[in-house]
Amino acid sequence: MEVGRAEKIIEKVFFISALSSILIVFFIIAFILKESIPALALGWNFFLGMRWYPPHSQFGIFPIVVSTFVVGIGALAIAASIGIPASIYLAEFSPGWLRNIIKPCVEMLVGIPSIVLGFFGLMVLVVFIRNSFGGYGECILAGWMILAIMTLPHVVSISEDSIRAVPKGYKEASLALGATHLQTTIRVILPNARSGILASLILGMGNAIGETMAVLMVIGNPNIPWIPSSVLEPVRVLTSTIVIEIGYAVWGSMHQHALFALGVVLFIIVAILNVITTAVIRKGVAGIG
């Protein structure tokens, strides 16, 4: 009987632990929402407003959102154009010993703290861009490069896994018909891995948009956010705006509410991307099975 009771108690402890994660998520969302309501109530002036200038009580986030997507999508494009071919090479073409070198190196990129990457970006990339192309150096291009470096390992490892998950029978059937390895990869393997590759891109996008510290250090953050017209211009993104301004927003002011509202927008964008990722992966699994 003692054993039975102990089991029950332990089970309860586990249950409460599981429950706590739900509660934490719930309270965070509730709190941020509550704090952001006054700003969200500004409606279109908030979401589509072109000017963010808290000293004049102007809280239009449109330029910030656009900049966020510009930075995220560009970074993703770079990460995809390097990461997808790399994952194809690793999964299909590389000899085992080379893969055993490349894969840990790519994964090590995940382990670099973002502040270190940002520091590198500021000291090396920004200086390089300033010297090569002129301008401030702190700009969208620098943000793209840093975020691409941070997104790359996710794209490579998820894409590679999905390419490897394509049933071996397809590959053998294709080769046995006299197809070359490249034909087999393009016509049979990649179409079957496409949902995993797509998922890796959407997930990478979510990471890029939610990333704060490294981006903050290299994209310049002008006093008044604008919609950029060149990749050499500095911009502000959602995360960097919150970090920069949270320190001097007066407690309880509209400014502070607006920053919380930025957090809500960021949260929703990333959540949507995560949901899409999950849906794409499910659909892909159902398609193969």
């Binding site: 053998e172 080769l175 006299g178 070359t180």
Partner: protein, 250 residues
């Protein structure tokens, strides 16, 4: 002349530590069905995959010669693409691509640059030869996964026929099928041998006895005995062959 002839064929796996086929000498006749039998791990699948160089997908070392129409397929001059076009293969598990019936059959011809307007004819002819046409002619655009295992396997046969091979290798093609589907495939094989040379690996000795003209018995990488099927089953020359086919081991 024999269609295929092996001279001192040896295959090693795992950096030479596993000697999977040991000095096999054998001839395979054209337009006949040759069955390869033997217990699991005896080398019969390795032997089969040596005939279209599919062993090369993993790290193996192959020694000796495999002559097809008198040409050693392991010589440097032979193009593995052309070889595999000539020597088709059907696998143990039906493995159609996750695309339509039509695209599955058209895959091989498309790879080899056949023009679109010729494809319809090739697809129809291949499906007819594989005894599948009547069942699928109105469903050519449906995904192959919607069909039964037996139909999928005949689709794989049609897919192999579409690139116009001369030899077809079957690696236990019925092991995942029910008895009725198996009977249909066996019937099909007997028809196909008029046009093609067939080599089949099978676990099922009754199947070998039913459909094959020649039978080769492998044990631990060695070819123990090869001869006309009735001779192998009724008057085996080697004691080990007799023990295996009478069910004393394996």
């Amino acid at each position: 002349m024999s269609k295929i002839e092996m001279k001192g064929l040896s295959v090693y796996y795992g950096n030479g530590t596993v000697h999977a086929l040991k000095d096999v000498n054998m001839k395979i006749e054209a337009n006949k069905i040759t069955a390869l039998i033997g217990p699991s791990g005896c080398g019969k699948t390795t032997f089969l995959r040596a005939l279209n160089r599919m062993n090369e997908l993993i790290r193996v070392r192959t020694e000796g010669e495999v002559l097809i129409d008198g040409i050693d397929i392991y010589s440097k001059k032979v193009d593995v693409i052309q070889l595999r076009k000539k020597v088709g293969m059907v696998f143990q598990q039906p493995n159609p691509f996750p695309m339509s019936i039509y695209d599955n059959v058209a895959y091989g011809p498309r790879i080899h640059g056949v023009r679109n307007r010729e494809l319809d004819g090739i697809v129809e002819e291949s499906l007819k030869k594989a005894a599948l046409w009547d069942e699928v002619k109105d469903r050519l655009e449906e995904n192959a996964f919607g069909f039964s295992g037996g139909q999928q396997q005949r689709l794989c046969i049609a897919r192999a026929l579409a690139v116009n091979p001369e030899i077809i290798l079957f690696d236990e093609p019925c092991s995942s099928l029910d008895p009725i589907s198996t009977a249909r495939i066996e019937e099909l094989l007997s028809k196909l041998k008029r046009e093609y040379t067939i080599v089949i690996v099978t676990h099922n000795m009754q199947q070998a006895a039913r459909i094959s003209d020649f039978t080769a018995f492998f044990l631990m990488g060695e070819l123990i005995e090869c001869g006309k099927t009735p001779q192998i089953f009724e008057r085996p020359r080697d004691k080990r062959t007799e023990d295996y086919i009478t069910g004393r081991f394996g």
